[in-house]
Amino acid sequence: MPHDHHHGPSIDPTRLARYQNLAKAVTELLIEKNIISSDEIDDAIKGMDERGPALGARMVARAWSNSHYKESMLSDGSAAAEALGIPVDGTKLVVVENTEKVHNLVVCTLCSCYPRNILGLPPRWYKSTPYRARAIKEPRKVLKEFGTIIPESVSVRVHDSTADMRYMVLPARPTNTAEWNEERLRELVTRDSMIGAEAAITPGDQE
């Protein structure tokens, strides 16, 4: 696709109004038939807004501080989430660890599967055709676009998510944080570091 549109599908106001009307029609009919209620929709949106990378950051900071937790997280991500009171909704969460030898990157080539319960709604770029298409083919080049340079001595592993299996990256613990407690460590864990698009923040680097 040499002329792939740079910004992905654009918003056409007439078409948008048509699909917004379709959404409204479907929603109204479902409410009138007592299949769903508007309160349930509001609650679902509220739940969506409440979940976000802060939950994943709690898991990562715990794993950095507690080797038992880390082991359990790498063997059963869903159980490790639940252990911190984060519900997982029946999808299997697989956590992959970044080390000195391996850097992991997560993608969903077919659609947009993402650990939404842990990280919230995926960023738009995660769902875009260029990311989905290129992440598996040229991950180092993709990572470079995020400002992440992976040395040749480090392998890059790309994980393709499915509807039932969602991946999350356990980023490497930044240097110079030996004395840090969990609460401070959480601040170093970014959303993109848990997708594998970047490293966790190294203290001193961000100023």
Binding site: M1, P2, D4, H5, H6, H7, G8, P9, S10, I11, R15, L16, A17, Y19, Q20, N21, L22, A23, K24, A25, V26, T27, E28, L29, L30, K33, I35, I36, E40, I41, A44, I45, G47, M48, D49, D89, T109, L110, C111, S112, L121, P123, R124, W125, K127, S128, T129, P130, Y131, R132, A133, R134, I136, K137, V142, E145, F146, D160, A163
Partner: protein, 103 residues
Amino acid sequence: MVNKPHDVAGISVSEIDLEENQYETWEKQIDALLVLLSGEKKLMRVDELRRGIESLGVNAYNELSYYERWIASISKILVEKNILSQTEIDNRIRKLRADGDLQ
């Protein structure tokens, strides 16, 4: 074999647009519909959403934005399952348009 439109792995050469746009209310409402229908209501599955999206045809798949694809698929699946009828959806859209509710 020609890939179906959703099967994009390895084909695109364009740059990734890293702009961070928040989701709009209409997008979250469509997302919420699926969360409810596939979750506690158990009326459709996420795989069915994907099947619906993948069968939109290459033009619609490439032209529509993410949540436009979702609602197109959700309505299609609900009609397939006789939960809603196409006629009542069409009639309601006509009414909404006549009321000038959204435009």
